[in-house]
Symmetry: C2
Subunit: 519 residues, 2 copies
Amino acid sequence: MAEAAVKRRRSGGRAGHATRRGTAIIEQMPWRIPQNLDRPTEPLTEEGVARLHDAAMRILEEIGVAFLNPEALEILRRAGCTIEGETVRMGRDMVMEMIAKAPAQFTITPRNPDRTIPIGGRSIVFGNVSSPPNYWDLEIGRKVPGTREMCQNLLKLTQYFNCIHFAGGYPVEPCDIHASVRHLDVLYDKLTLTDKAMHAYSLGAERVEDVMEMVRIAAGLSHDAFDATPRMYTNINSTSPLKHDFPMLDGWMRLARRGQGLVVTPFTLAGAMAPVTMAGAVAQSLAEGLCAVVLAQIIRPGAPCAIGTFTSNVDMKSGAPAFGTPEYMRATQMTGQMARFYGLPMRSSGVCAANVPDGQAMWETEHSLWAAMQSGTHMVYHAAGWLEGGLIASPEKFIMDCEVLQQLQRYMEPAICDTSDDALALDAIREVGQAGHFFGTQHTQDRYTTAFYQPFLSDWKNYEAWDAAGAVWTPERAHALFKLIVNEFEPPAMPEDRREELAAFVERRKREGGAPTDF
Amino acid sequence: MAEAAVKRRRSGGRAGHATRRGTAIIEQMPWRIPQNLDRPTEPLTEEGVARLHDAAMRILEEIGVAFLNPEALEILRRAGCTIEGETVRMGRDMVMEMIAKAPAQFTITPRNPDRTIPIGGRSIVFGNVSSPPNYWDLEIGRKVPGTREMCQNLLKLTQYFNCIHFAGGYPVEPCDIHASVRHLDVLYDKLTLTDKAMHAYSLGAERVEDVMEMVRIAAGLSHDAFDATPRMYTNINSTSPLKHDFPMLDGWMRLARRGQGLVVTPFTLAGAMAPVTMAGAVAQSLAEGLCAVVLAQIIRPGAPCAIGTFTSNVDMKSGAPAFGTPEYMRATQMTGQMARFYGLPMRSSGVCAANVPDGQAMWETEHSLWAAMQSGTHMVYHAAGWLEGGLIASPEKFIMDCEVLQQLQRYMEPAICDTSDDALALDAIREVGQAGHFFGTQHTQDRYTTAFYQPFLSDWKNYEAWDAAGAVWTPERAHALFKLIVNEFEPPAMPEDRREELAAFVERRKREGGAPTDF
């Protein structure tokens, strides 16, 4: 199918239904922070919550987690943990005392304060895909290593769509930039092409410090102002089972000291790096996450922490990870119950195993997004653009996901379920009676422009009209939009002196050799 | 894209990953009645429920509903309703008294009693697409009028998939059979190719009586045994706004008298046949549905009734109906709250506006299926095979939907969230410790064959393996499975004398001229 699409596009054929109205390429919903007011789906009983908690605590008390970082070990030893080699055991009283110091919600304020995101409460915010090494689009038609240009294009989408609230990590790895300086170039691109919150990969002291410094410069902040409230965050992954490695812990502690956002996301694939049973995989994930939160709270009581879940299952025939499965959904919901039990904000993801942006990609992604909604997730990573279990970033998938995210945002607007007299519309029903229709009533005329969600990608034409317009399938329509958005993109404003300061910083750090690449 | 797929198939190219194991074409989950144990999503407050109820009652009391059927009017007049021309007004006391007579749940028992479906309680059952006049598949590559062969093929899918619990109406209209005898041929096909519950279209006395008789014959029942419990059902649609037409009411009353299943589904498109506000559209839908339930309860107290919802919104730019929208989801959830308030089972649907089985088709269908799950729907119509707002039936979409339905069924299994000691797996976690993996542990070995959902259509291979296997997108994989299933299909057993009796009935009724076609 990709080939046909490529051919059609190259022959200058019909390019989908993307239209321009004035300066807007599409009509999209304004920036807003959706409030998820539905009661979460809770598959665990109260006893189930207690049992999962007890299992997580017993893992920390009896089995322990390896911290492959001498500094972290020393901090934990002084706080009263039992250290044996690199294995750390901690009692549940201490765990609960430390976790209680973490705030139930916090904010992250990027260089544009209008893009501040709350993490916690009833809010749910969505971020772009992060970290795939590869890229796929309909024009290329195959999987290729990411480049800086691809990364920039995906950053433009990240900035363009109001339903994307934060810029996360690299939307694709720019493999054409040497690893020693990659973070400098991509951060420059991220900070100039977007004004949304972003993170630092915890991949070594130099990278973490460079990113913090660049975020500070881009926002025009003093060091004190930077430290006063979270301006960015990091996300660390444990090396499951039960291990935190050196650079992740190093970055975690650096950001903790400076009061920046901290997200810990164990990748507990049931049947591989975690038990084959979902409760066991969730218990292990909780233990791995909570002990990192403990470390942060020892370093800086009140440090803003969130626990993430990436618990899914493998395909037991091939060992390949699967995403958006029934087991993934329930694990996410269970983790949500536990996050509320611990009073910590939660992160989950928009994920799929599919290799191309087709039906499977969307049902798997839908399952992961509904799991996020149902679990009370506050921060949804990888919510746009993810394919092949995170190994591929795709602009078509990005745009398809944004259509879904906008629909979820609209779904969360309480106005849909308004039962005021105006909304019950008895007068209009009386006026129309048993004949006629509502198109022409004043009640309809007064409301029709804003009554319903208007998609920018869904095609609601009937078959004949759709066929006459080129019979364009969803990924092709998304591709056409991608080209339009990237070609017309205008970066957000940044004072010229800050841009120069950023560029000078990048140049200096490159001269110094960037960061070590021996990881 | 369709063209490419057609070409690839015709050139004898790589045909997807469908495999045969013994006599099974795919490994699917066994027949079961899923129990939806999650707490429903309830966007209305208690006051909102009361206000919607009051609005529905005021519509029935003050505005009234037209019943275009003299017999129905006479029955309602005798029961105390106010009749003015064809408009019927009824007081809320009488409405609530009558509705209270309807059972909160009932069963429908088809010719194979193992396929009995409960309607109500915590059960949720799924049916095939019903009634599209047109058909689309990848091989044909365009929209064409339905034929008997296409209808038979979709009936084979209906029977084949265990996640499809009932056979509903015609999965596509066989336009190559004259309308006067179409019901006879299709019911013969339905009753011989499937053994699942089905319905009669309320399109005239002869059709309804013929279908009841054929269902009775196929099950080998006496007339008394047929009448003793629901063996089939009908679904009627009001002609919104506020009208029930002659043949629908005629069929409704015929089935009520014989104690068969009754489903009433107003098609209240907000902004067209109902107010542009969702609460108004739901109130009108409830009024239209409840007055039909009242009529059934007058005729036969305790008649098994369910109320359906088909409330969605139009595209206000084109007037075209939209499906699986945020407004659709909330209307379905609100209707669910009201159905529980009235103590009636509920029907909703699996629907989309998309014209082909692509990403949009799946996100719209996912939204409608999750609305069904979240609303506490008991009976999900059109759950497999629907495209273009119900104007197209597609076998690829049917099979893609069945993959999703199986995942929902698995999602509803409480075992996923088991928190027993075995599931918490502390011993396995202790055994693996901070190194190694869980593939080889006894805990994994004992459980891995059944621990996780195994898809039959999702492709979980990595990109390279998927590419090497032909780079087959989801609809093409579904098409390959469709051909395999249809070619290998074996109809369910039926005693030869019953088949002969059915065939003789069809022949006789054809000789008699079938049913009038002046509707």
